[in-house]
């Protein structure tokens, strides 16, 4: 018979540690975290939401989750109201427009109480990013819905969005919140095969699958928003602001209208800005036999394929794409010939969007230089003009789709 182990032995020292109970605690802790994340995200917690400011976006190391954004919609929009989700880039985000002069606030005022406008545009995003994903994820909860976003003429509407906002697309796809749409599926399969290494695909899959089960993004975003932020960010580089709950930061967008016009359109930027203005059309057009501008054959063909896959067919009709024109201060400096090409680019691009099944228009024609804060972003006065134009289009679209009648349409 062996001697009993002395009290000081390694085995006996672990009398206070019970592995099975520990594992049960670990599992219960993860389940609890996941449950809390669901509980706080679903109804929404962004009480004073205006838009995604730099501290509430990837620039500030804050990546809003799909459920968090859906929660914002749930907290604001009643089932009997028409949900208007605004997506797109910094122009539609309202860069240069303070919160009280934000164009989507004006849009809400013009549309009235039957509509709820949510600005889900992000800086540098495509029309298929952010807001587009949320709009599709909410298609059954809010069948009365319009999605509005801006784009450039013949800009590529990638079905899977662009970095750094593509994470929302993967999140929605992995969690089964997007429609099963074959043209998009093919594009997604292609991009995964050609632009991601197997290690990146595995990483993406593992991260999304784990997050789907454990909801760690939802929970820690909520902690960061409501209580304490733990991620170093260039937007809040110094203490104590770096750790402040993100809800403490007001929407403090500067006002273009407080800047003299000469400061908004500085001569040293002129050449660079003119190259961009010309670039809106010069890659898509070539000289025809008559010496006039002709759309390159490959451009509409490629665009049609991308636009077909960008949104599911049943959602295209409620998607309004607004093409962003440049400041007339710069457009007016194009030659007469370049001006013809520029006009053709907007006209043809609107036509191509419509041909693909979307609602489309352009804005900026007839605006004054003071309606812009730089080459492309709108000042508050430009925002008011845009809001008026979009309000008319959203109203018309809503009437046509039967949103103004009592019965909710099929999703």
């Amino acid at each position: 018979m062996s001697e009993p182990l002395p009290l000081s032995s390694g085995l006996d020292r672990s009398w206070f540690f019970r592995p099975r109970t520990f594992l049960a605690g670990l599992a219960a802790g993860l389940a609890l975290c996941s449950a809390v994340a669901r509980r706080v995200s679903h109804p929404g917690y962004h009480d004073a939401f205006t838009r995604f400011t730099p501290v509430l976006s990837p620039e500030g190391q804050y990546y809003p989750t799909l459920e968090e954004m859906c929660g914002i919609a749930r907290a604001r929009c009643r089932p009997d109201q028409v949900l208007v989700i605004v997506g797109g880039n910094s122009i539609f985000n309202g860069v240069g427009q303070p919160a009280e002069k934000l164009w989507t606030v004006e849009l809400q005022r013009r549309l009235g109480d039957r509509f709820v406008v949510l600005n889900f545009a992000f800086r540098g995003a495509l029309c298929t990013d952010g807001g587009a994903v949320v709009a599709e994820a909410l298609r059954r909860e809010y069948p009365r819905q319009v999605y509005v976003a801006n784009a450039l003429p013949f800009g590529q509407p990638l079905a899977y969005g662009a970095d750094p906002y593509r994470y929302l697309f993967w999140e929605a796809l992995r969690s089964g919140r997007l429609e099963d749409f074959a043209p998009r599926n093919e594009r997604v399969a292609w991009v995964k095969a050609h632009q991601y290494t197997w290690a990146e695909r595995f990483d993406l899959w593992g991260r999304d699958e784990m997050d789907r089960a454990l909801r760690f993004r939802d929970l820690w975003n909520w902690v960061g928003y409501e209580h304490y932020f733990t991620i170093p960010s260039p937007v809040t580089p110094t203490l104590p602001e770096a750790t402040w709950a993100r809800k403490r930061f007001a929407d403090a967008e500067p006002d273009f209208e407080a800047m003299p016009l000469a400061d908004r359109l500085r001569p040293e930027f002129r050449d660079a800005e003119m190259r961009i203005v010309r670039g809106f059309s010069e890659g898509s057009y070539e000289r025809g036999a008559d010496g006039g501008w002709r759309l390159r054959a490959s451009v509409p063909a490629e665009f049609a394929q991308l636009a077909k896959a960008a949104f599911p067919d049943d959602l295209k009709g409620r998607t309004l794409i607004m093409l962003s024109r440049n400041n007339p201060f710069y457009v007016g400096q194009l030659s007469a010939d370049e001006l013809l090409r520029d006009s053709a680019a907007f006209r043809d691009s609107v036509e191509e969007w419509r041909r693909a099944g979307y609602e489309a228009s352009d804005y900026g024609s007839g605006y004054e230089p003071a309606d812009f804060g730089d080459r492309t972003h709108l000042s508050a006065s430009g925002g008011r003009k845009l809001a008026g134009q979009v309000a008319d289009l959203v109203m018309e679209l809503s009437r046509r789709r039967g949103y103004m009648e009592g019965k909710a349409p099929a999703p």
Binding site: F17, E59, Y63
Partner: protein, 54 residues
């Protein structure tokens, strides 16, 4: 460790068992929260997105 051993010797067996289970459970819960947070941090890009207007 000697302190723990002497503590256990002074405790009745059922109490020692309850303390062990409670401690292990709490340790599991705390580590679960830590693991949850680590997974969140690992999911974030190491470099933030820098927005440049174009």
């Amino acid at each position: 460790m000697n302190t723990l051993d002497s503590l256990r010797k002074r405790m009745p067996q059922p109490v020692a068992r309850a303390v062990a289970h409670t401690g292990s459970l709490l340790l599991g819960l705390v580590l679960a929260v830590l693991l949850h947070y680590v997974l969140y941090r690992l999911g974030l890009p190491s470099k933030p997105f820098i927005y440049v207007a174009f």
